[in-house]
Symmetry: C2
Subunit: 342 residues, 2 copies
């Protein structure tokens, strides 16, 4: 190889599609092995941190009678009893129902199915969701506190215990160690918008951030606060799902947050509506039929504490922590709109 190189003869290159077609050979490299050892550690720490704080691991059904998030991006199939079923787009409805069921604090590590036609570097049709849901005593920042402590511990654990793995990845896909603060920076959505405006970015103040604005905000925050990991809270209500609790003093905003890692959104979290009437009203406003979510909404009518939670994609955490350029590298056998094998 070296000889060819010095002679200027181009070396054969293997594209990503071919590598994924022969995935069992592709992952035999030190890098391939290292990525999935890091992934294993992320999941272990996620479970360990939450278990130590009285969360219990549950498993919610992946086959449900209606879509779990609304929207069309759902895989449908015929169930045994002639009814049609959907693959759950998230454990959202059932992890909340576990709170209705008296479990107080729950988490789940499980597959999530999105029939989206997103052919990007960061979307998959099937990924592993790390989800948590918990009673809230006074304020939804209690959920942010969990996210904060959890991820700082994950980052520290990876840096301290996966040195060899991170070096192996770094040799093939060079990256800078993640910059993060010991206590995670929290900015309100309005502060974020203000920063973007001051930097000259055109922005619609009550809509969601697009990918470009997210990247820009990440860059600005890094320059100003020296961190690549931060929480943006108090999103406009219109940018959030129907089950998100509106702000009490200004219902144009909501008790919700996103978390950013190296300029990309990785976590969405929020307080949920626990009052069945308001929940039904918000679902109707989102055009979601009562028939498909009746058992979900009914669950709240037997008395439910205020609660909130968050969800994050395992592959995305690994991709961004390790500075990988494609989420498929962090999925052992990835599924995207074009790929269903091996």
């Amino acid at each position: 190889m070296k000889e060819e190189d010095t002679k200027g003869v181009p070396l054969p290159r293997v594209g990503q599609e071919t590598r994924l077609d022969y995935r069992v050979i592709d992952v035999r490299t030190p890098t391939g092995q290292a990525i999935f050892r890091v992934q294993h550690q992320v999941e272990n720490k996620f479970r360990e941190y939450l278990s130590a704080r009285d969360f219990i691991g549950i498993h919610t059904p992946k086959l449900i009678s209606g879509s779990s998030e609304g929207g069309a991006a759902v895989f449908k199939l015929e169930y045994k009893n002639g009814k049609s079923a959907c693959l759950a787009q998230s454990p959202q409805l059932h992890k909340q129902m576990a709170i209705c069921g008296g479990f107080r604090r729950v988490f789940e590590v499980g597959h999530v199915f999105r029939a989206e036609d997103s052919n990007t570097h960061r979307h998959l049709c099937v990924f592993v969701g790390l989800d948590a849901e918990m009673e809230i005593m006074r304020h939804y920042f209690e959920v942010c506190d969990i996210v904060d402590g959890l991820f700082i511990q994950i980052f520290r654990h990876l840096n301290e215990n996966c040195k060899r793995e991170l070096e192996a990845i770094n040799r093939q896909y060079p990256f800078e160690p993640l910059k993060y603060l010991e206590r995670t920076l929290r900015l309100s959505y309005e502060e974020g918008i203000q920063m973007l405006k001051e930097a000259g970015t055109e922005i619609e103040p009550m809509a969601d951030l697009n990918t470009e604005a997210e990247k820009k905000l990440g860059q600005l925050v890094r320059e100003k606060y020296d961190t690549e990991f931060f929480i943006l809270y108090r999103y406009p209500l219109a940018a959030r799902p129907f089950y998100t609790m509106p702000c009490y003093e200004n219902p144009a905003y909501s008790n919700s947050f996103d978390v950013f890692l190296r300029g990309e959104e990785i976590i969405s979290g929020a307080q949920r509506i626990h009052e069945p009437k308001l929940l039904a009203k918000r679902a109707a406003e989102h055009g979601i039929g009562m028939s498909s979510i009746k058992s979900y909404i009914d669950s709240f009518s037997y008395g439910t504490p205020p609660h909130g939670g968050f969800g994050v994609g395992l592959e995305r955490v690994v991709m961004l922590f390790c500075g990988l350029h494609n989420v498929r590298l962090a999925s052992l056998f990835p599924r995207d709109p074009q790929r269903l094998s091996p």
Copy 2:
């Protein structure tokens, strides 16, 4: 209630179907809470025991292009690219492909989908599989050794750390503590058949045991060896899936085993065929088309070590350890041929 009782007025009874319809109220009892705390501990111990022995947790795809076990009991759906997909009936093919990929020892905790029309006390259409796969150095008993150590540790952990939970369950569903030995009893299939014959049970020596024979054998083993947990190994090849390694000295038998808990099978394990030619031949003999498992069989052609593994249903472990009469009690939101909600 007490007054009604003494007057001989029958108390209202709520059947299981109604209870499952209102599952979020149903699980609010101490028993309901306890069952899922036990389940959480089983999963934690499973992960901890294997992680400490160099297994890494992986996630295999739940949407695959062909059925993973052969047979008709598979959920089908249309995938994004117009192709048809199946929900994986087990992580079997992909956990073996992870061994081909150089991971040496892997485990998975994940959903398993069976479109079976089984309306029994122990079958679900969706359950949580605890699976492991590992390189074998000399003999498939190395897999039995892992199963042995793993489950003895799980049983001990539950008895020592879930006393309160087990008492709560015992009050509603009385059961005797599980009898097990510190080193798990291993009987050959032939020895098992012999015991059944001597007890007067009619038995076909080269077929699988039916449920009745399993129960009877469990009873005989308990009487003779004072244990309700044992391994039955060296099954007839004809009773096992196509990927099972035949015995070298007598190919009518196989390098495989089942594990029994309180007279019911909970674990199936085996050495797998790692030679692509023999694997293709066995698949053909089982009438499985090459097209649907090509990428699986091809994986073995790049050099694969001898390997084996096992799989067990999380809900079934909890049901049998706690002496519950129905697996639905150990599934938070069960799915069976009739039930797709809540």
